[in-house]
Amino acid sequence: MKTNRMVSVIWHFIIFTTVVILIFPVVFSIGVSFKPLADAYNNVLNFIPFPLTMENYAKLFHTLPVVKIVFNTFIVASVVTTFKLITSFLAAYAFVYFDFKGKRILYFVLISTIFIPFTVTMIPNYLIVSELGLIDSVWGVILPQLADAMGIFLIHQSMRGIPFSLIEAARLDHISHGRVMKDIVLPLVRPSVTSAGIWFFITTWNEFVWPVLILKTVDNYTLPLALQMFISSEGGTDFTVAMAVSVITMIIPLALYLMFQRYIIGTFTSSGIK
């Protein structure tokens, strides 16, 4: 009995510490974003500022077209996520349910592209985007990201878990591939599609290196680029405003998650192929 309680105390301690470590930066940045600059340097440990100031947000909205930037980021993240999901789903479906020559080799080559570092494809991609005249456009950011081998891999793995006879039963009923995808396969792989979608959205939302290469004018910026303006600006790091950008960057995916939370959790709990 005693040892059980001891184990439980240790576990709770570990969990508590992990939560604190994860939550701390969030609380810290929210706190700092509402502090005057001087206060931020002098009272570092005072997480909850008093009195609150909105001056950082005022400055931010004054210097940058924040709404436009949020909109740009949202467009990039949602278009990329949508297309990656569509292409991954279709490719995975073809790899699982169609037989064609060279299927295994093609799949192997495709999956091996996961291991190619971004820096290797960065320059060729830049040149293509530039040739297309898409420099300084969100579409230039979006275009090379419309497909993703990792997404194909994830969805492929979960599609393989669906008994093949389900698809055969549908074939016997003369049901088209489109209907099979929509009515049978998609509902059964929804958990992995949802997780891939969340993953795509967050990584694209936070993406920095690729947009910084493509986007030149502030009007076309995405949020991580705006953040960087206050960290390495010529007048020194504007720490508190940078935190305000952080909070905005963080708050939108979080709000989206909270909005769809029930649906997302439901996806993971209701699944289960027997």
Partner: protein, 379 residues
Amino acid sequence: MKDIVFENVSKTYGKTEVVKNLNFRVREGERLILLGPSGCGKSTTLRMIAGLEEITAGNLYMNGRRVNDVPSGERNVAMVFQNYALYPHMTVRENITYGLKVQKVPQDEIEKRLDHVLEMLQLIGCENRLPKDLSGGQRQRVALARALVKRSNYFLLDEPLSNLDVQLRISARKELKKIHDLYKQTIVYVTHDQIEAMTLGDRIALMYDGKLQMLDTPENVYNRPANVFTARFIGSPPTNILKINYFNGKVHIGSQSFTLSDMWVKHIGRKGTKNLLLGIRPEHIEISAQPLENSLRGKVKYVENQGNEYCVYTNLEGQEAAVISGHNHWRPDELVYLRLSGHRIHFFNAETEKSIGYPEALLDKQSPSHENIGQRMSV
């Protein structure tokens, strides 16, 4: 004609030939059972009818039309899969009606057919449940219902009862017969269970190693096996196959012999086969502790209790012969006398393992009824 004709049909995967040169016809409205051990090609054969498996060589005709290249959806077949293949995210109602909805069957017609199968298969009350909330028997009935609502000409079943317990299997067999009497579809039914084959089949196609071994009525498959494989596969315990020498009208087993009846002597003489194997079912051997006329001497090896009777395994001149006995007097190493029932013997060519046929006098005799075989075998 809703029949199915196999004409020199073969199927190979890479270099392995799983179905070899099949030639047979499934008659309109009959229940044909594809029976055989696992890996014999019976499921592949069924899947070729369904169009789920391509035909490597030969022709397959359905309803008089060559269907080698006709997609499964256009063959008008309904199939029940071994794992039922129910859509796990759809309710029973959705599972049953999904195909009809996609085919744009009018809603009132869908409802009519749904109500009918739900009632017939005792699924009323389960309409809104998911497959995972059903018992094995209910799932099997949903799979059956889904196939039935299509009202197809061909009904294909791939070991549909193999996941059910014995009681459910017996009731499901009855149900299937009832359904067939109602709809009269052409049924092709795959199973490795000979009792299922015997009780359900109008005819049985016994397959082994990708080849058709015998295609005939259950009575004939049981009583007139076409080859050694059929004789051994059908019936439990299996038919005894004994190595014999035949000369001067006598069957010699080791140093012993017994006299054959005239009709057999004439028949074997006509066939002219020298090298023979003798087959006889355990229930067609008489066993006695006292010498019998025209019998052979053996020694008891061990006795198996089969419930209402006993199977006595004996050593007959170094070969094993199983004998069914009504009582359990037999002790290991006991000397016994075995008499082989003359008109229940089968002879096979030892080289080809094919039956040499039967004397005409025997063929005229009526075979035991279908039901009796089922009972015998379910022991």
